[in-house]
């Protein structure tokens, strides 16, 4: 193509962009859009909660910091994709994700993790960092380098019209409901059942519970497997609307850490509050910041600057929370 034709195209494009800028600036953000974004933030937060709940539970009971939690999330997603491809059933896939993640969780607890309870956090970080390397490459070895397919079940696909005329994904609503159900279930488990009583006792005084004749090592394995199963479930749920691939657990792991730090490490209530706070901040920040910058900047630059700032927003939120409460919102010193 001769250069002259190109420059002609360039002028057309510049004109096009000018017009577009006016349309973006001219449009106010509608209330329906804002409500939809709040729902999106809630759904994102609930998903983070499923990850964070396991992390915070394991930390609260065993005092262990587990970087390999993201790998269990990946294990859940891969197990679900494999079983869904094999049987075609989404429910079986979810069951498989729970089972596989719990199984691998119990396995690493028995072989590696239990040697780390008495160690300092540095050893825990490094040993579980090593587990990430092993899990990621082993998964790639088994499933290959290409992403796997996992889809939303027929019954949950498409959208639902909510009161007020908001069209919202059925599947995302289901995730919100499952997440809230898990939150309620965990509260009941910990506050009402015998196992929960032991967990609380273990949190307060590990030697005491041993003296009471409770086999603490079985309890620890169970708690770890429970946390792993939650991570696996969230991997499978999210895998249906995202990409099931090696390394998928790492970004969400770091977000989950931000969540539990904000909420207070060891507190399920804190994990829920932190998750929803992070979910809303991230989603609304992503939408609002570019829009706010567009008020006084050229739209392309506004989008770029706004989203740069949005990607740092939750870390800024975390720094802000810790400035005032160094042990998080619901943490005890």
């Amino acid at each position: 193509m001769p250069p002259s034709a190109n420059s002609e195209q360039m002028t057309i494009h510049r004109r096009g962009r000018g017009l577009a800028g006016e349309t973006i600036k001219g449009r106010a953000m509608s209330s329906i859009l804002i409500i939809e974004q709040i729902l999106n933030g809630l759904q994102f937060g609930v998903m983070l909660f499923l990850m964070a709940a396991g992390l915070t539970l394991i930390f609260g009971v065993m005092g262990l910091i587990n970087l390999a939690h993201g790998s269990l999330y990946m294990v859940g997603a891969f197990a679900a994709a494999a079983v869904a491809g094999w049987t075609g059933s989404f429910l079986l896939a979810l069951a498989a994700s729970l089972a596989a993640a719990a199984l691998f969780g119990a396995l690493i607890e028995l072989t590696v993790i239990r040697r780390l309870y008495a160690r300092d956090h540095l050893d825990q970080v490094l040993a579980t960092f090593a587990l990430i390397l092993i899990f990621s490459e082993a998964t790639r070895w088994v499933f290959g380098s290409f992403p796997l397919f996992l889809n939303i079940p027929e019954a949950l696909s498409g959208t639902l019209t909510l009161p007020g005329g908001i069209e919202y994904s059925r599947y995302r609503l289901t995730i919100i409901l499952i997440g809230l159900a898990v939150a309620v279930g965990l509260f009941l488990l910990i506050s009402k059942t015998r196992v929960g009583m032991r967990i609380r006792a273990g949190e307060n005084d590990r030697e005491m519970i041993g003296a009471l004749g409770v086999d603490i090592s079985i309890l620890y394995t169970l708690v770890f497997a429970l946390g792993a199963a939650l991570a696996g479930l969230s991997g499978a749920l999210v895998g249906a609307i995202q990409s099931v691939e090696v390394g998928m657990g790492e970004p969400v792991l770091i977000l989950a850490f931000v969540v539990i730090v904000i909420g207070g490490i060891g507190s399920i209530k804190g994990a829920l509050a932190g998750a929803i706070l992070v979910g809303l901040t991230d989603t609304l920040g992503r939408t609002m910041l570019p829009w706010a910058f567009a008020a006084f900047m050229e739209p392309s630059a506004a989008s770029s600057v706004g989203s740069s700032l949005a990607s740092m927003l939750i870390y800024i939120l975390m720094a802000g929370v810790l400035l005032f409460k160094p042990t998080g919102l619901f943490g005890s010193a």
């Binding site: 930390f59 910091i65 590696v112 040697r115 780390l116 160690r119 300092d120 956090h121 540095l122 050893d123 970080v125 490094l126 040993a127 960092f129 090593a130 587990l131 990430i132 390397l133 092993i134 990621s136 490459e137 082993a138 790639r140 070895w141 770091i254 850490f257 931000v258 539990i260 730090v261 490490i265 770029s304 989203s307 740069s308 990607s311 740092m312 870390y315 800024i316 975390m318 720094a319 810790l322 400035l323 160094p326 042990t327 998080g328 943490g331």
Partner: protein, 328 residues
């Protein structure tokens, strides 16, 4: 103690001899690997001061490593394009002189460490680990989306920066620079560890309450250690960028933070030469395992796991046959 001194000497000598032998055998790539080991060791020495002596488990030292790298990248790219860094209110030119770049890298990363440390040190334990990790991520995302200096693409410098009297493009001479810097920093850190400051830092690590009761301002003590630690890692970042003639946001990623920690645990926590041994072995492993299998990271993970679980004290600790002090 005396035994460890011999081991330290041995490690230092090995790091020096290997590239010299490689020079004789005309294997320049081995010299490059040794240079990389020396630079990463320096990053580890920086972290070891906070982590080993001070007990401050920072999972975000990639931030300082990256800042050091970008100090080099930004200054050198301006020098390369003959475009001043800023003109108002006064002109600041880029530079391709290593000593100037090092100074800027040290000051910039020290400032970042001061800011991050001042906030992070309000927390402790696992909060501290997570907060430093999050600050590291913040820098990572900033570097990716900041368009002025290449964003995700990073910055390429076509010619390695200058050091008066040395041909830095010659691999062995550049290795010499890095080796001397590493030894000089080790010497200073050793002096620091034995000074009242170092003893107080270690004391506060062993028993914070006792340190408080004897009237030590633990927060300020740790902050100073954290800043020095960040500055050393920043210097390593500047050298690493010069080794590659390239910087990119990867230097800020949390994997980098993890790797710097790995050097320390492999070599031996709180051992003066621990990071040196750790970085050298890590690079050796990476180089050799890569030849065995496409899935070499599995083996790396297994070895790392073994060292953490069963070989406390790492290489230096194992050779010195003395259990390293350990407490949470």
């Amino acid at each position: 103690m005396i035994r460890e001194r011999y081991i330290n000497f041995l490690i230092g000598a090995l790091l020096l001899i290997v590239p010299l032998v490689a020079l004789q055998m005309d294997e320049p790539f081995i010299i490059t690997l040794a240079t990389k080991a020396a630079i990463l060791a320096l990053a580890g020495v920086g972290l070891n001061l906070a982590l080993g002596q001070g007990g401050l488990v920072s999972f975000g030292h990639a931030a300082y490593f990256g800042i050091g790298g970008y100090a080099m990248g930004i200054l050198a790219s301006h020098a390369q394009d003959y475009a001043p860094l800023m003109e108002v209110p006064f002109v600041i030119e880029g530079t391709n002189l290593m000593p100037v770049i090092w100074l800027v890298a040290i000051v910039a990363s020290a400032l970042a460490a001061l800011l991050i440390g001042a906030l992070s040190l309000r927390t402790s334990g696992v909060y501290f680990i997570m907060v430093t990790l999050a600050f590291g991520q913040m820098f990572y995302y900033f570097a990716i989306s900041w368009p002025a200096y290449g964003g995700e693409d990073g910055l390429s410098i076509y010619v390695r920066n200058q050091f008066p009297g040395v041909n830095t493009l010659d691999p062995i001479q550049f290795f010499g620079i890095c080796f001397v810097v590493l030894m000089a920093v080790l010497f200073l850190v050793n002096r620091l560890n034995k000074s009242p400051f170092g003893l107080a830092l270690n004391g506060a690590h062993q028993n914070e309450e006792r340190a408080l009761t004897v009237g030590i301002n633990v927060y300020r003590l740790r902050l100073v250690a954290f800043v020095i630690s960040g500055a050393i890692t920043g210097l390593a970042g500047a050298l690493f960028a010069d080794l590659n003639r390239f910087v990119s946001p990867t230097m800020f990623s949390w994997h980098t933070s993890g790797e710097i920690m790995v050097f320390i645990i492999l070599g031996g926590v709180a051992r003066l030469f621990g990071p040196v041994a750790g970085a050298a072995v890590y690079i050796l492993l990476e180089h050799m395992l890569g030849g065995i299998s496409e899935y070499w990271q599995i083996y790396l993970g297994l070895i790392l796991l073994f060292v953490v679980l069963f070989a406390k004290g790492g290489i230096v600790g194992g050779l010195a046959r003395r259990e390293v002090r350990h407490d949470g």
